[in-house]
Subunit: 191 residues, 2 copies
């Protein structure tokens, strides 16, 4: 299943078969059941996660004790708390599997070493983070520029498969709604 | 003034004097007055901007015709619409100087060429985007997890100089407030 990671890397960087084998040796492949925490608040985010199959989410627990999802990662997405990961200091977030998932995981020290051995992988991660940066700029635009109802419809238009796949209460949390409000919007649309 | 850019690059990557001179040759240094648009909605974001001195902001115009600021860049920060920049397609944003500014600007093609000639600059930009990615994760956490009043106080605690320096109506826009609401919070604090 590491073919998916290979395909993603080679979209941005050319690697020989041998180089890919060597790069892959820095990773662990994890099979994880649904709803398993890969990261817990207060712990160091030791690994950077690439989703081969399945879905992850990152969340924090707010003042009211409610889980607030801030990011999802489906296939071909990377996820980590990059503040905690890059400084190797305690995290304010949780990372959890939403579905049974297969994940390529690379530890901080292994990633540093891999980047030293294969500097062209810097280009790969530069591209990954630049795209995430771009996506967040748009996300803030939508959060500030749209009503909550428009936000849902826009999101549905951009990521229809995603909206079908993710549990509705998690999608509501991600969009900053209550599940009841999301259910109302959806009903309105059908009627 | 390119010393500031050099200092920023060498925080993350080692460059010889000659390499830095060659890297710098891909940049243009721009002196820009206050309130000048470097990017206009509908145009391609041709350049990536590094602030040597001054302040930039990125904004869009919402349905009500109001400018909504989504990002600031002070000294040592990079700013571009990275969706438009990396695909060289029209932007949905404006980029404008908040103060009289000195900016190191690099065009898309020049940046690609520079990265090809100096692959170690990939590490520099990887780090820049990874840090921005991390900052956006926290920003979403604050936006979702705090009341608007807490948001302002948190921001004030984290970036006191910034809060003093940026015009209050722009800060209000950035935090998603009306200027009147920000003024109320500030009064409450003093009294």
């Amino acid at each position: 299943m590491s073919d998916i990671l290979k395909k993603h890397i080679t979209k941005f960087v050319n690697l020989t078969e041998q180089e890919f084998t060597d790069v892959l040796s820095y990773f662990k492949i994890i099979d994880s059941p649904k709803k398993k925490n890969l990261l817990t608040e207060g712990k160091i985010c030791k690994s950077n996660y690439f989703v081969i199959k399945g879905c992850l989410r990152m969340f924090f627990i707010n003042d009211k004790g409610v889980e607030q999802t801030i990011q999802f990662a489906l296939e071909n997405w990377w996820l980590a708390d990059y503040t905690s990961f890059s400084a190797q200091k305690p995290s304010g977030f949780y990372i959890q599997t939403v579905e049974k998932s297969e994940i390529a995981s690379i530890d901080f020290a292994a990633q540093e070493k891999m980047l030293e051995q294969f500097p062209k992988m810097e280009k790969y991660f530069r591209t990954v983070h630049q795209r995430a940066h771009a996506a967040y700029q748009f996300r803030i635009k939508y959060l500030y520029g749209s009503s909550r109802e428009e936000l849902y419809h826009e999101f549905n238009k951009l990521f229809p498969e995603f909206v079908q796949r993710v549990p509705q209460y998690l999608l509501a949390s991600y969009l900053g709604f209550t599940p009841e409000y999301l259910s109302e919007i959806r009903k309105k649309r059908i009627s």
